[in-house]
């Protein structure tokens, strides 16, 4: 479904990602793991069109997408939930959700999507008129995920959705991600909560200083020495 082929991406000439390749198949949950500064966010931003590779190519359903702007990437049904939620703080919950569906044109479709999202996150329906910056961290993350679903993506990319959440909320978020996946959405998950991420992932890629150093099935990586030592502290 998504194919990232030998991309290099940089900030002002400095390469943050070098010669990275990975694939995601329809229906999978794939994780990108790695420590701070490994280049995980840079990769999802590049797939989303916020950045463009200096080398390599990205195809989605066989079409190249690495040169198009982010507002056209959304129309291809790729949605990204950025690190740190990045909500529209002074707008209401409902307005945040409606902006999530900016790329949709049919009102009927928007209403239907809204109902689906409310079913997944009932609290958002109860509080739809509340300003989003008055939400707690966990509620904000739910809203960020819900907003990302409002464009009806077939590929959803989440950049560290568990960041700053307590253990209870972290497992809630992972459960929701699995549920979204069961509903037919393919998932690219960036995480530092390596254990939980690998447990729900079909496959994963380990990133170090801008390069893929390991890939494999979720449970395989959980057993690998590199992952156990570097990320699980075992």
């Amino acid at each position: 479904m998504l194919s990232v082929n030998n991309i290099s991406v940089g900030y002002k000439g400095l390469l943050a990602v070098q010669d990275v390749s990975f694939q995601i198949n329809q229906g999978e949950i794939v994780s990108l793991i790695g420590s701070n500064g490994a280049g995980k966010s840079t990769i999802v931003k590049t797939v989303a069109g916020l950045m463009h590779p200096v080398k390599g190519e990205i195809t989605f359903e066989k079409e190249p997408i690495h040169t198009i702007p982010p507002y056209d990437v959304v129309k291809k049904k790729i949605s990204m939930i950025p690190e740190g939620r990045q909500l529209f703080g002074r707008l209401s919950v409902l307005d945040n959700l409606l902006l999530g569906s900016y790329s949709l044109t049919s009102n009927e479709e928007i209403q239907k999507t809204l109902e689906n999202v409310y079913r997944l996150f009932p609290i958002l329906k109860e509080r739809k008129n509340q300003r989003s910056d008055t939400f707690s961290g966990g509620e904000q993350q739910q809203l960020a995920i819900a907003r990302g679903l409002m464009s009806r993506p077939s590929l959803l990319m989440l950049d560290e959705p568990s960041l700053g959440l307590g253990p209870k909320l972290v497992s809630d978020i992972f459960r929701i991600i699995q549920e979204i996946n069961c509903n037919g959405v393919t998932i690219l998950l960036v995480e530092q909560n390596v254990h939980e991420a690998l447990e729900i992932s079909h496959r994963a890629y380990v990133l170090q200083t801008g390069r893929v150093v390991l890939e494999g099935k979720g449970e395989e990586l959980l057993q690998s020495d590199l992952v156990r030592q570097a990320y699980l502290g075992m």
């Binding site: 959304v74 950025p82 707008l91 409606l98």
Partner: protein, 286 residues
């Protein structure tokens, strides 16, 4: 005495609503692009001259010039953004300041070149005379202009709060990267906002032309006051600019009344300085 005071309050409100409308356009441009548009006052001047020439050549009453001023300034704003301002958006802040300052000087000098520095007035609109409301004199053109300004301001509020495009502008203002991820073409939002900001001040120009002197440098005074209004209300806040415009209008007339008319602008700027001293982000800023 209370009657005189009431008279000053009415005068203050009437000029205040004009300031609000001028400042709303400026704060919108700032909010979306973080650009100080020094040419804003000159857009007002162009609106005033448009109305003046439509009246002088075609006998068109300024009230009918409003949609023309709106459209003309909208197009001019978009063109100036696309062809000039957008080129320096990624450059240093100073380049942006210099560019809008340059446009300001260019426009006012162009007006001097074509129309001489003379002061002009539209003498015979069908808005003339004064109403006497319980001993208070209300100039008809000023009253109509201020009501028109309030209506225009309300239209903008509704546009921003209720329409998809308005919300996209607010979203871009709050978080450009998220807006892009939602599917919003933020570059288009930039030029649209610049166009709307210019169009609003164009409408203000048409209203103002019914009673104010029309001359190439008129933008200087209004532009400067608009900056104070925007800062007082909070950079980027439309509601803030609306309220601050009224406050500045009142401060100006009441200050002129209680102290001395020649101090009225000094009083306005003193209030501004005190406010940002206590609350640097302005009244409704964030």
């Amino acid at each position: 005495m209370p009657e005189q005071l009431l008279q000053q309050i009415v005068n203050g409100l009437m000029i205040g609503f004009m300031y609000s409308l001028v400042a709303i356009g400026l704060t919108l441009i700032w909010g979306v692009m973080n650009i100080v548009n020094f040419a804003h006052g000159d857009f007002l001047m162009i609106g005033m001259f448009t109305s003046f020439w439509l009246f002088t050549i075609f006998g068109l009453d300024p009230l009918f010039s409003i949609p023309i001023c709106f459209l003309l300034l909208f197009i001019l704003g978009i063109a100036i953004y696309r062809f000039i301002v957008s080129k320096v958006m990624k450059g240093p802040m100073l380049a942006q300041l210099v560019v809008t300052f340059g446009i300001s000087i260019f426009l006012s000098n162009l007006a001097v070149y074509f129309w001489t520095p003379d002061f002009r007035l539209i003498s015979t609109t069908f808005l003339q005379g004064t109403w006497d409301v319980g001993g208070i004199n209300i100039s008809v053109p000023k009253a109509i202009a201020s009501i028109g300004s309030v209506i225009t301001s309300i239209c903008l509020f509704l546009f921003m709060k209720k329409t998809k495009t308005g919300k996209a502008i607010l979203a871009t203002e709050m978080n450009r990267e998220s807006a892009l991820l939602m599917g919003i073409n933020t570059e288009r939002i930039n030029s649209l906002s610049f166009g709307i900001g210019a169009a609003l001040v164009g409408v203000a120009g048409a209203f103002l032309s019914t009673y104010y002197y029309i001359y190439p440098q008129v933008g200087g005074l209004f532009g400067t006051i608009a900056f104070a209004v925007v800062a007082l209300g909070g950079f980027g806040s439309i509601e803030g600019a609306f309220i601050a415009g009224i406050l500045v209008g009142l401060a100006q007339t009441l200050g002129g009344f209680y102290f001395d008319p020649s101090y009225k602008y000094a009083i306005v700027f003193m209030i501004y300085l005190i406010t940002i001293w206590i609350r640097p982000q302005g009244l409704l800023g964030w």
